[in-house]
Point group: C2
Chain length 245, copies 2
């Protein structure tokens, strides 16, 4: 019998050895009709709090599945406290961005409205589903919290100043990202990326005056918002996050 889990699923339930967990209808469909698993086969479960557990499929019927938790595979690990703050972009790009931000370990994702933000509606349910799928596939032990859109000003007004905010700044006056991050303190961070049209000049001025903002240059080319977000997250993880360990 193959003792390797055939799928990895995110659940809400508490996880501990010996308990049973009922999966969602969608998860039952996925195990039964997409992966064609059978009762008795193994999956892995995680919930963002209790680590990762091996679980055996007990019942698997149309729209219903229960699993029994066996051993814990991994303890919950401390993850980088790293937010992504970005102005929403169009559908295919925002889906991609959520997937990549999840893989790169963003702990929370804040869509924000800026002066030049063109996309006003965000399908939060779809973004959350994307994040869950990316967490399941990347061996991550948690799913980033995706917040409802709000105005950037409003988010900044309640900003905890111990959290540094890396501003992806295209004005050519910001220091190169590696020199800015070389002396960066560990601790809570966020990456801020503007909309496709860029920040308004007075938005940028206001941002640069905030004591927790750290403007950086990502190089001489104009990066799309999604590219800048991914580069920023990868760089922060490499310098002060969990890719630095």
């Amino acid at each position: 019998m193959n003792q390797k889990p055939q799928a990895r699923l995110f659940v809400d339930a508490e996880l501990s050895e010996g308990t049973a967990v009922e999966l969602t209808e969608g998860q039952a469909h996925y195990l039964r009709n997409v992966l064609r698993l059978k009762e008795g086969q193994l999956v892995a479960l995680f919930n963002g709090r209790d680590g990762e557990f091996l679980a055996r499929i007990e019942t698997l019927a149309r729209g219903r599945a229960t699993v029994a938790l066996a051993s814990r595979l991994r303890e919950q690990a401390l993850e980088a406290d790293l937010w992504l703050v970005f102005a929403p972009i169009k559908r295919a790009r925002i889906d991609f961005l959520i997937e990549k931000a999840t893989e790169l370990g963003a702990s929370a994702i804040y869509p924000v409205m800026t002066r030049h933000t063109m996309v006003e509606r965000v399908n939060l349910a779809r973004l959350k589903a994307n994040a869950i799928e990316a967490a399941e596939q990347s061996e991550r032990l948690s799913v980033p919290h995706i917040h409802a859109p709000r105005a950037l000003d409003q988010l900044l007004a309640s900003w905890e100043p111990s959290r540094r905010l890396m501003l992806c700044d295209e004005s050519k006056t910001a220091p190169p990202v590696a020199s800015a991050l070389k002396t960066a303190r560990p601790g809570p961070w966020a990456v801020l990326v503007g909309p496709e049209g860029g920040f308004a000049e007075d938005e940028l001025d206001g941002l640069r005056k905030l004591p927790f903002v750290c403007p950086v240059s990502l190089g001489p080319r104009i990066l799309r918002a999604d590219t800048a977000a991914l580069a920023g997250l990868a760089l922060l993880q490499a310098f002060i996050g969990d890719a630095a360990r």
Copy 2:
């Protein structure tokens, strides 16, 4: 009269002040039917060799356009000599990867076949078109050279050893990327990313024995091939490429 170019186009022709350039049928269509420009309006041209020129549309008809070159807007700048070597992935992801690699300044792109590569056909013409579009939109002065697919072994057999190869290594034994790159020498580099199924164990062993290979860890999560490629390019540009300046 607005003296700002209304579009940015990559061309093959030599560029110098006072000469005329005939655009392709596709470019004529784009200027006339998509952007709805008129004769007399301005565009910017670049060819990867002569910098960027302002050009005035002289004739614009169905399928035909000529422009007259006015002043040079930018000199050709030295760009990072940074290759991306990757095992092909599925259509939407490879399109995205080429776009992002172009924005992040890859100078050449090599699709390579490895033991576990699932995608064997690559539509080179489409990838080249994606790269041109991304270069036009990112203010880049060149377009990466996209090579025809070949076996990884074959590429490595003719590898110039002065070019360092950053191997994105998921085995948890490689050093964190920031510590590996902190002491990296400037000069020619490449990023190597395996297929979705990963490298075979003996492929990895062979790679690690090559004197020009520098294995790095991009963190504890399993990154998709496209995510790893983008993170690797962003990190190399930040440490030793044109985002470091």
